[in-house]
Symmetry: C2
């Protein structure tokens, strides 16, 4: 069975091929940034990726990280998550939804077939040519719930959101 490291290596290899096939240059910085993105379950921000890649490339600049992330988005290998101030990046290539815990700030991926179905319906209803989608949910994760994070006010908000979401 392939390890996580094997899967990451295979994806980096595909990225390398895609780069040269599309006429982009294969640079160690680009490979390292992509690898850091897909190896992280954390949906890192540009800042976090910069910090991590800096360990291997101490001279790298934030501009390169931002450039590469834009390229990845353009190539369809990453998507931007608009949660809370700073943009975070998602290298998961499958259609899925993102769920953010507003307490611990972790983001979880959930596979959900309905996302693909919504995509088709929106295309049909809107007559847009669509090239991207993003499904984001906000809440409190089970671990934080267990730690008693939910105070009265958040609970009220959660109930209100549930109602309006179901109405």
């Amino acid at each position: 069975m392939p390890t996580l490291g094997d899967r990451v290596q295979a994806m980096v290899e595909r990225f390398r091929d895609l780069l040269s096939r599309e006429g982009y240059r294969v640079t160690p910085q680009r490979l390292a940034i992509y690898e850091a993105l897909i190896a992280s379950p954390r949906h890192p921000s540009a800042e976090e990726l910069y910090e991590q890649v800096s360990r291997r490339f101490p001279m790298i600049s934030p501009a390169t990280v931002y450039n590469t992330l834009q390229l990845l988005v353009k190539m369809g290998l990453a998507s931007e998550l608009g949660f809370s101030g700073e943009t975070r990046y998602d290298g998961n290539p499958h259609v899925h939804v993102n769920v953010l815990c507003s307490h611990c700030k972790r983001i979880f991926d959930i596979e959900e077939d309905l996302a693909a179905e919504i995509f088709e319906r929106v295309r049909a209803k809107s007559n847009f040519v669509l090239y991207g989608q993003r499904h984001e949910f906000f809440g409190v994760c089970p671990e934080c719930q267990a730690r008693g994070v939910l105070n009265g006010s958040v609970q009220r908000e959660a109930q209100a959101a549930g109602r309006s979401a179901a109405d």
Copy 2:
């Protein structure tokens, strides 16, 4: 039949009640910002709301606009859209999806029952206490298509996104 203005007035009235019921102060600035938000079909940015409300309240400050928008989000009366750099705000109280035209930057609301269904499924699968959701699509609107905006590269991207969204 109620006019758009009537509907806006009714919503502002409800906002006023909600403010005082929850112990917040009813200020003319808050009412004006909320009114500007829901009267605009444009999903305005904080900057745009500031500019518009400034016409009626020349002394208003950006900080007040940001404060009020945060309050509206907290109360569930508005949601943030994470499209492209600046945050834009959506005062539509119904469950819906947002579709952004990457060319003209307009955002369209599309009513979609599946959004409520996804909410329930994500809640069940994640065991989160959920209090918000956001469904965003990117593409090119019919008008911009008709104006010939779609060049080769965007078309390729759109086709690629369609494939990955359907796989």
